[in-house]
Symmetry: C3
Subunit: 272 residues, 3 copies
Amino acid sequence: MSYINDIAQSVTKVREVSPLVHCITNYVTVNDCANAVLAIGASPIMADDIDEVEDITSIASALVINIGTLNRRTIESAIWAGKKANAMNIPVVFDPVGAGASTLRNETTKKMLNEIKVSVIRGNLSEISFIAGLSVSTKGVDSSDADLDKDPVAVADSVAKLYGCTVAITGKDDIVSDGTRCVKLSNGVSMLSKVTGSGCLTSALLGAFIGAAGDGFIASCGAILTTSIAGEQAYERAAAMGTGSFHMALIDYISLMDENTMLKYAKTEVIK
Amino acid sequence: MSYINDIAQSVTKVREVSPLVHCITNYVTVNDCANAVLAIGASPIMADDIDEVEDITSIASALVINIGTLNRRTIESAIWAGKKANAMNIPVVFDPVGAGASTLRNETTKKMLNEIKVSVIRGNLSEISFIAGLSVSTKGVDSSDADLDKDPVAVADSVAKLYGCTVAITGKDDIVSDGTRCVKLSNGVSMLSKVTGSGCLTSALLGAFIGAAGDGFIASCGAILTTSIAGEQAYERAAAMGTGSFHMALIDYISLMDENTMLKYAKTEVIK
Amino acid sequence: MSYINDIAQSVTKVREVSPLVHCITNYVTVNDCANAVLAIGASPIMADDIDEVEDITSIASALVINIGTLNRRTIESAIWAGKKANAMNIPVVFDPVGAGASTLRNETTKKMLNEIKVSVIRGNLSEISFIAGLSVSTKGVDSSDADLDKDPVAVADSVAKLYGCTVAITGKDDIVSDGTRCVKLSNGVSMLSKVTGSGCLTSALLGAFIGAAGDGFIASCGAILTTSIAGEQAYERAAAMGTGSFHMALIDYISLMDENTMLKYAKTEVIK
């Protein structure tokens, strides 16, 4: 049983459907998120005021909540948007940036997961481990070395079952589990951690994929492979120039991503 | 009667005068707006706190209000800034991003136009049609197909007369009308809609042009042609690389824009 | 007595230590700040809510406060973060963007300097002159010509003694003084003022340098030379293409910066 055909076809699906993706996200990487969503053929809308989030979520095909620069105002907006999405069966992607790094992020993460039914949680091993309730040491918003000896498959699986959703842990290898299905994805280059936003834009892309096709597991694989294969291509063309050129090339290759490229380069290993 | 000489000379004027442009704009494309304003030879200042917007508007040559990521706090700030600009005869450019997409955007758009005398409104056909009071179906912040059968000349003309200002509708072709004069501009490439912010940066450029020369009609043409001609040049150099390279090249060609380039490439058709 | 060996070695130190830098900064150039911090080998975290800034500062090696798009909410957060940093002996870098341009910026600048013990103040001559209490005329957030006849060495020296910190004035030449030591740095190109954020990213880099090595004077020189030498290299490769390419190349060369490059290209003149 391999999932690669479904995953690759999901790229075509995004370009055909061109879903509207409502992102409530941080101001650091929001431009990359918008450009990545456009590059994969979908349409982004960023709106975070409590007076309009329900209206905007209503017309969207997916909602992406990213707590990278959370504040009291936008936490409240995100929860309202999430509840509206739940009421309308619009899928919700949750990116718990920096969970484990501050009490506010920890409590917000718990609150989001208690009050909103999410379709996908995407984060690094530190963040997802925090959610798993495992002991966790976090270095800001990047994954800490202390977490690297945890078994990401077990962590992903337990969180997927706990919240009845898909969990995507991105890192050197990426693990995607929905509790039933589980896959390891092995594309990507370490330079992706040398530009800000590769995680955030993957979550935004996830909104595009799940908005077009609905299956959180396949959507997670599609979004992660898009970033990591584009990252490999960007590395080949631009790494010697520096991280600025790599960053630009990453968006380039997302805009060129298609079914055949994904079939050709994807390194996937089915775990279950 | 052609306007092209005045329009082309306005580029030179911006570079000579180097006006300070106060932008109250969204956090998605704000970096592009600032870089575009610098690229055309003007100076941007972003400030959105109610405690300082009047001070900042006072020292600026133009105010640009963009509601792309509006919120209660910045709506209030924008109105104060707008009133200060009116009191001091500083021109105001208004970009009603996503008008039609949420009650908040609709009411804010109406409120802005009621409380502030604007010199130019720039938007896509959906947004300007909303202002015209025509029935409108909006897909997030992008122009929806349902609006494409409306006659943009009639829409621009009616809104220009309604508010006594210049109206610029950007799209495949661009229409600029001040009620008396009207022109169709036909430069640009569809890839401009595949990077976020080409509309926003045109509005920011408009602040630079109107701040330097004062005539909203000529300024609108100058700003739109700058983006669309630079877009064509960027497309030629970078389209095959992808949308990241195109995005960077767009800023490149804005920074290289001059009177002769505009005279050479501008496709304008005088309607009246 | 030359400082160049210590300065050059500080680049290596940053890459070895990889300090976490907490930035409370503006939304215009925040993406460049994050990418510059990553490019020099450190780790950025942006967090500005009052409910978490103390937690985030506690785990950081340096705090950078930049008032480019200040508002009531983030001013308060920055002060709390600064006090926490002081309590824990974490160095604070202060970038008084636009000081002199509005009452809010003036009062916030004074308040920050009264309530927080800062290690480094970095700004242009207008901003630092405002702090020096000299008469000052400011054109938005850029340095005004009227300030250019002030003696930056005297200004830097007086502010350094007044606040017991290092003062870095960036401009055509850059002056760094801690009251005892003073150096003039003469790298850089004028195109750096044609992209937004070269000042902000230097302040963010400064957080990386001071977080790794602790000496505000050496850290200021390291950060400024990184930006200005990378600027020269970017200019050589990309200036003819335009400011978009230059901007990208600037990040490229920051990511390639090392001890030898700095030793080879740095133009420093010891004043005392």
